[in-house]
Symmetry: C2
Subunit: 347 residues, 2 copies
C-alpha cells in the first residue's frame, strides 16, 4: 500500500522547502513563481492534506458530536436533520452517539471530550443533568450545548449553553384545546416519572387541570413507557377503569399511536367518542388515521438553536452562557376535530 504524498514529497518535487509548500497551500503571500511550482507539483501528485496532522497542530478537529438517547426516535432525527446542514455549512463534520439513555454512556461521551476528538458537543440527556454530568462538562473545557433542562446552579467555569422547551405550556395548550371542544374527562398517558420529560409533563397535567377548574383524578392517569406498545397497554388499562373518559392526553406521539390502536380495536370513534392528543408532533402524526393532533415542542427549532449556539461559541470565543427557550405550539388535526367542524368549535 503506497503511502500518499505529503508536503515533503511536494517540496522535493518543486525544489522548495516544506514551509513554502505549506504557505502556498494556505494562501499566504508567496512569490508568483513559487506558487506555480508548488501548485503544479501538488496537482501532479494528487496531494490531499492529512487532516489528522493538521488537527494535531491546530488543536481543532473540525468535528462536532451529537449525543442523544436513540437515533430511531423521530424527535432526534428531526434535530439531526437541522443540525447537519448547519455544521456542514460551517465546515464541521458530525459525529453521532446513540446512548440508549444510559447515564453511563452519556458520561462516557462527555468524558470523551477530553480526548479532544471533537471541538464541541450537543447532548440531550434523557434523565437530566446530574452532578457527574456537570463535573465532566467543566473538566472537558470544550463547549457543550445541553438540549433539555439544566440545573440553575451551574458552576462558573462551565462552557455550556442550553436549549429547552416548555412542555408545561405545551400540555397546557393541549388541555385548553380539549376543554374548548367540550371534553371534561381527560385521561393522561405518561412516560416514566424518573425521566425529565415524564416528570415535567406529570406536573403540567395537574396544573393545567387546575387552571381549567377540572378535578384531578388519579384514576385518569396511567404511567408507562414512551413506546407504542406501552401506550397501548396504558390506554387499555385506563379505558377499562374509566369507560367514560372522553379524551386522552398522551406524553408523546408513540404513546398516542398505541392509544389509537386500542380505541380502534374497541370500536370507539376518534374523536367522536374519545379525542386524542400526542406530543412532539413527529412525522408520524400526519400519517395516522385519523391524523393526530399533537403538541409541537419544536424539535427542528431546538436542533437549529443548539447548532447555532455551539457554532457561535466556537467561532467567537468565550462568552456568558445562554439559554434559548423554544415555545411549544399545538398542531390540530383529525384526532380532535370532527370532520366539517372548525377546530375551535364545540363538540
Amino acid at each position: 500500500m503506497t503511502e500518499g504524498p505529503t508536503i515533503t514529497t511536494i517540496a522535493q518535487r518543486a525544489g522548495v522547502s516544506i514551509a513554502s509548500v505549506s504557505r502556498v497551500l494556505n494562501g499566504l503571500p508567496t512569490r508568483e513563481d513559487t506558487v506555480r511550482r508548488v501548485m503544479r507539483a501538488a496537482d501532479e501528485l494528487g496531494y490531499v492534506p492529512n487532516s489528522v496532522a493538521r488537527s494535531l497542530r491546530n488543536r481543532r478537529t473540525d468535528q462536532i458530536a451529537f449525543a442523544m438517547a436513540d437515533i430511531g426516535n423521530p424527535v432526534y432525527v428531526a434535530m439531526v436533520r437541522e443540525i447537519q446542514p448547519l455544521l456542514k455549512e460551517a465546515g464541521y463534520r458530525l459525529l453521532i452517539h446513540s446512548t440508549d439513555g444510559e447515564a453511563e454512556d452519556e458520561l462516557g461521551v462527555l468524558r470523551g471530550l477530553r480526548e479532544r476528538y471533537v471541538d464541541g458537543l450537543i447532548i440531550s440527556p434523557l434523565r437530566g443533568v446530574t452532578e457527574e454530568h456537570i463535573e465532566a462538562i467543566v473538566a472537558a473545557r470544550a463547549p457543550v450545548v445541553v438540549i433539555g433542562s439544566l440545573p440553575d446552579d451551574m458552576p462558573q467555569g462551565a462552557l455550556v449553553d442550553n436549549v429547552r422547551t416548555d412542555s408545561r405550556t405545551g400540555v397546557r395548550l393541549a388541555l385548553d384545546h380539549l376543554h374548548a371542544i367540550g371534553r371534561r374527562r381527560i385521561g393522561f398517558l405518561n412516560g416514566p416519572l424518573d425521566t425529565v420529560p415524564g416528570a415535567a409533563r406529570a406536573a403540567a397535567y395537574r396544573e393545567a387541570l387546575e387552571a381549567l377548574g377540572l378535578p384531578y383524578d388519579e384514576d385518569l392517569v396511567e404511567v408507562g413507557d414512551f413506546y407504542r406498545d406501552s401506550g397501548a397497554s396504558a390506554a387499555r388499562a385506563l379505558l377499562s377503569r374509566v369507560p367514560g373518559v372522553d379524551a386522552l392526553m398522551c406524553a408523546n406521539d408513540l404513546i398516542a399511536l398505541g392509544a389509537l390502536d386500542v380505541l380502534r380495536e374497541q370500536g370507539r370513534d376518534v374523536p367522536g367518542d374519545v379525542a386524542v392528543v400526542g406530543m412532539d408532533d413527529t412525522d408520524l402524526a400526519s400519517v395516522t388515521w385519523p391524523t393526530l393532533t399533537s403538541v409541537s415542542l419544536g424539535s427542528a427549532e431546538r436542533g437549529r438553536a443548539a447548532a447555532g449556539l455551539l457554532l457561535d461559541r466556537l467561532q467567537n470565543g468565550p462568552r456568558e452562557p445562554r439559554v434559548v427557550v423554544v415555545r411549544p405550539s399545538l398542531t390540530i388535526r383529525g384526532s380532535t376535530t370532527l370532520p366539517g367542524t372548525s377546530p375551535g368549535g364545540a363538540r
Copy 2:
C-alpha cells in the same frame, strides 16, 4: 484556558521518561514500581490521552463514516440504528454525512477519505456508482462498502465490498400477492427513472406482469418522486385516467402514503376497492390506516451486513471483495387483506 496534562507532564511528576509512561499506559511489561508511580501521577493529574496525536502516530482514527441521501428517510435511519451499535462495540465512532443525493456531495465524501479522517466508509449512492465514484474509491485506499448496486467491472485495486437487495424479486413478491387476491388491473406509482431504485423497479414491474400473464399497460404507470406529495399527485392522475384500477403498487412507503390519502379523499375503500402495497417496510407502514402491506428490502439487515463487512476488512486486512445480497420479503398488512380474510384468500 489551562491545557490538559500530557505524557510529558506525567513523566515529570513521576520522575520517569515519556517512553516509560507510554509503556505503562499501554500495558507493556514494566517494573512494578514504575507502573505504580506512573499510574499515581496519571490519576492525580486526571490524564486523558489525546486521540488526535495517537491517530497521527498510529495511522488510524477509529472513526467510520456513513454517507446516505437523507437522514430523514426511515430507510437510512433503520440502517444507522443497526450500524451504530456494531461500530461502538468494535471501538469505532460514527460520522454521518447527509448528501441530499447530490453526486457532488457523494464524491466529496469519497475524496474526503484521502484526508484520512476516517478509517472506512459505508456509502449508499442514490444515483448509482459512476466512473468518478470508482476513481475516488480506488484513490482512497481505504475500505469502502457500497450499499446498492455496483458495476460488474470494478478495477482490481478497489477495496470495496457490496451489499445489495433484490428489488426485482421484491416487486415480484408484491405482484404475486396482488394477483393471488384477485387483482388484475395493477397500477404502478414509481420514483424517478434516473435513480437506481426507480429504474430497477420499473423493469421489475414489467417482468412481474409478464410472468403473471397480465398485459403491460402504459396508462397504469405513473412516474413522480419518492415523496408523499408526489405520490398523491401520481395517484390522482392514475385514478382519473383509469378509474377501474384495483391495486396500486408503490415504489416506496411514502408514495403509498400519498396514495392512501387520495383514496380516502375519494371515498374508495382500501383494500375493498383498491389494494395498496408499499416498499421498504418502514415504521410508517404499521401506523397508517389501514396498515400498509409493504415489501421489506431488509434495511436493518443491509445496515448490519455493511458494518460487518467493513469491520471485517479493518480487522483482518485485505481480502477479495465480497457481495452480500439481502433477500426481500413481503409484510402483509391491512391494505391488501379484508378484515377476517386470510392473507392468501381470494377477494
